[in-house]
Amino acid sequence: MTLMARELKASYAFVERNFHLTKRYWGWEVAWLVYSVAGALAISLIGRSEGSNRLLLVLVIGAIFWNFLSLVFEFIAETVQWERWEGTLEYTLMAPVRRYAQLLGSAVYAIVYGLIHTAVVLGVLALFFQLDLSHANFATVLTFIGLGSMSFIGIGIAAAVLPLMYVERGAQMVFVIQSVLLLVSGVYYPITVLPGWMQVIAHVSPATYVIDGVRRGVIEGTPISQLVGDIWPLVLMGIILIPLGMWTFGRAERYAKRTGKLKRVG
């Protein structure tokens, strides 16, 4: 067995394990779907109350695709927290698996899971609002989802170390990151309404470009070729954030092993 095949097999261990977990916690998955649909509907209804079809679409897209990005982010950011809660963290970290193989497996599962989840929410909202998606450019949508996922995986990996380093409060910090990204990324409003300094932050948030690109793809049917201005920052951020996330994770793992933060009972 070549090294590559062995690493891929290890990655698959995480995909399969997460799939089994999703299956076993299916009640929770249903609840989560209901929660996502309700949240997206509640925000989108503002558009209807204003009688603006365009605002409705802007909000629907913001809600749905923010939901996707935060799912991917959370899923990866919570891998450590989850395993600590189950008590399997030491077991997993002791296995002869390279960290990138583990994180690749988690990332693949997160994206597939996020896509399915998002498709359901999108379907429900499309029915509810009788949305006309006939001139949407799905190639554009998929491109932005794919590129955006890369950046969010990178941030997610970096955020996953928080529970490693701050055993009690780490998980809450993950939510803080999420809410700041939501605030600055123009998910429900154009970033031009933000104060200047916040707009600066908006430009380094990958979500800003993803939501903008997806909106243009869905509402205006804009092809990718006309959205280069949104694409290159995403490519750049993906290239920077994933290795940065991996590096951070490696550092944090070593720190945890040095200070005994993985676990202390037994």
Binding site: M1, R6, K9, A10, Y12, A13, E16, R17, H20, L21, R24, Y25, E86, G87, T88, L89, E90, Y91, T92, L93, M94, A95, P96, V97, R98, R254, K257, R258, T259, G260, L262, K263, V265, G266
Partner: protein, 302 residues
Amino acid sequence: MTTVIEQQQTAAPVPMRTAAAETTVRRRQLDDAFPAVVAEHVTKRFIVGRKRKSVLAVSDVSLRIRRGEIYGVLGANGSGKSTLIRLMSTLLTLDAGRVEVFGHDIVREEMAVKQVINRVSVDAAFFKKLSPHENLIYAARLYGLDARVARAEAIRILARLGIGEKRLGRPLEQMSRGMQQKVAIARALLTSPALLLLDEPTTGLDPRSKLDVQAFIEELRDTHDSTIVLTTHDLDEAERLCDRIAVLNDGAVVVEDTPEGLKAMVAERHGAAPTMESVFMTFTGRSLDDDTNADESDSDDD
């Protein structure tokens, strides 16, 4: 990936036990030339609490664990047994010293070491909602095993430990603690570790389950090529299973010998009854004066 080259020894087996301990006479030979674990001056400190107090969990421990032996580690609560095991399993980094597992340095050759070790902890570390089967398949894939082969092997091991195949599909949380512990042992064995680290594997088990697990460890020793490090608070278990025992006190090894050797030592030097209990009490007592005296009397040979 590393394969452990098994060293064949031609010399006659060295009798390690007295006739009274016949049941535990070794059927295989212990190889001293190529030890399973070499630890030299291993030290680990933790900084705890708001006052950042430093706790010396493992203090200048040097060990040489032979291939194929069951090596017991005894000591009071907090004496550093689990920390020592975690250090060997790469879950903690060393502050000082070095450890080699089958010739691989645990820091520089971490992957090679991980490949040949496995650890069972006091608490069965599982995804509780997943079934034993799902947990075991996860483990098998992490260690690069074929899922189907692993499943058959898991069924065999669990049957040996008294867990039927039909239980393998239900969530683990529905199993008792003893059963979970057996699954944990099966999971560790699945990967055929050359070095098996058992951190209190029988704590919290009922007497029958305990015997099951102990008999299984003996069987492993006799039929597999595993080297086992075992920590326990059950002194009978230590005596029954271990070829040699080290006693830890405040993170340091205070004595190391065969169970018979230890018992004889406390009887001769301290006038205590020749039991493991006396051994434990003598070497983990707060007063270390006895030990110092013992060291001095070491020289006069009778």
